[in-house]
């Protein structure tokens, strides 16, 4: 059973290096291209990449029961993200986005 578990373990140092490289990329993009139109989507993608690496390999979701992944993914993608998007839409001043707290819409 120990061997089976050892065989499943990824190269954690390599994952750490990937995370570091992604972080460096984020900092470069944010500091060198502050007004670029593609900045926000690229940063979001990079953050998802980093988060994915941590969740899949450090938190072992890649190797554990799919039920744990379900709990986490459900909370994140079906509750948290829609909740945040709803808050942003409801309380922003974007014209036509709804009745904002500050009177927009």
């Amino acid at each position: 059973m120990e061997h089976a578990h050892s065989a499943k373990q990824p190269n954690y140092l390599l994952i750490a290096i990937y995370l570091g490289v992604l972080t460096v990329a984020e900092v470069i993009i944010a500091s060198q291209f502050p007004t670029a139109a593609w900045k926000v989507p690229v940063l979001i993608l990079l953050s998802f990449g980093k988060g994915g690496l941590v969740a899949l390999y450090y938190m072992h979701l890649r190797y554990d029961s799919r039920l744990y992944s379900f709990f986490f993914a459900f909370a994140l993608f079906l509750l948290a993200i829609p909740f945040v998007l709803s808050l942003i839409v409801l309380f922003s001043n974007v014209p036509g986005a709804g009745h904002g707290v500050t009177g927009g819409g």
């Binding site: 578990h5 050892s6 373990q9 900045k39 953050s47 980093k50 909370a75 909740f83 945040v84 808050l87």
Partner: protein
């Protein structure tokens, strides 16, 4: 799981068979593992439920920051943030995630001494992170920005303060693991669930910082 692993007849003694089965559930569950209908360790399920609830909490705080982002003039808010300090904090926390997962890997190989070293390194990195956060806060206080100054201050300090509290609790948790590891009731190849649970919490705290770093400092 092979039937030869069971000495109890599930039909004659379902409770005894369930307890026996629990001992074979996932590695590291040697002691105290409670069987569940889904054949998973109840402690690990519990921590994942807890993490799911924490996802909601942090999502609401991050969402609030996003909503009010831009309501404060940059020169009274985000312009005062130091990207270099935040990037350093990010690297520190990522390194601490590496040391934490390495600690778990070491005890799963039976190397208790290395596990303790990695746990101590994780706790130290956590404290360094908190020190950097205190330094960043002191810079903002020196420029007249605090939680009551404006909307940026209120949302920034609430979000980072809440996260920092979680880091501090994580440091205490890891310290408790170190103390337990150095005493008689330490960990082993078959008994390391507590390390894994602590690791899950710590990695989640790191995950949240990844999002905070992007939302607050980069965008």
């Amino acid at each position: 799981m092979s039937s030869s692993a069971h000495t109890q007849d599930p039909r004659a003694n379902p409770a005894g068979a369930a307890v026996e089965q629990a001992a074979h559930l996932e590695t590291g569950h040697g002691e105290g593992a409670l069987p569940t209908a889904m054949r998973l360790d109840s402690r690990k399920m519990g921590i994942w439920f807890f993490i799911a609830s924490e996802v909601i909490i942090f999502a609401s705080l991050i969402g609030t920051y996003i909503i009010f982002h831009g309501k404060t003039p940059p020169e009274e808010g985000i312009k005062h943030l130091e990207l270099n300090v935040a990037a350093t904090m990010t690297f520190i926390l990522l390194m601490s995630s590496f040391t934490m997962v390495s600690a778990l890997a070491k005890i799963q190989e039976g190397d208790r001494r290395s596990m303790v070293r990695y746990l101590i390194a994780t706790a130290v990195l956590g404290l360094v992170f908190l020190g950097c956060q205190a330094f960043e806060w002191s810079l903002l206080f020196g420029e007249g920005i605090n939680a009551t100054t404006n909307i940026f201050g209120a949302t920034f300090f609430t979000l980072t303060g809440f996260h920092g509290t979680h880091v501090f609790i994580g440091v205490l948790w890891i310290t408790a693991l170190v103390l337990r590891a150095t005493r008689g009731t330490g960990f082993s190849v078959t008994n390391n669930m507590a390390v894994e649970l602590g690791g899950l919490y710590w990695h989640f705290v790191d995950l949240v910082w990844v999002v905070i770093f992007m939302v607050v400092y980069l965008i």
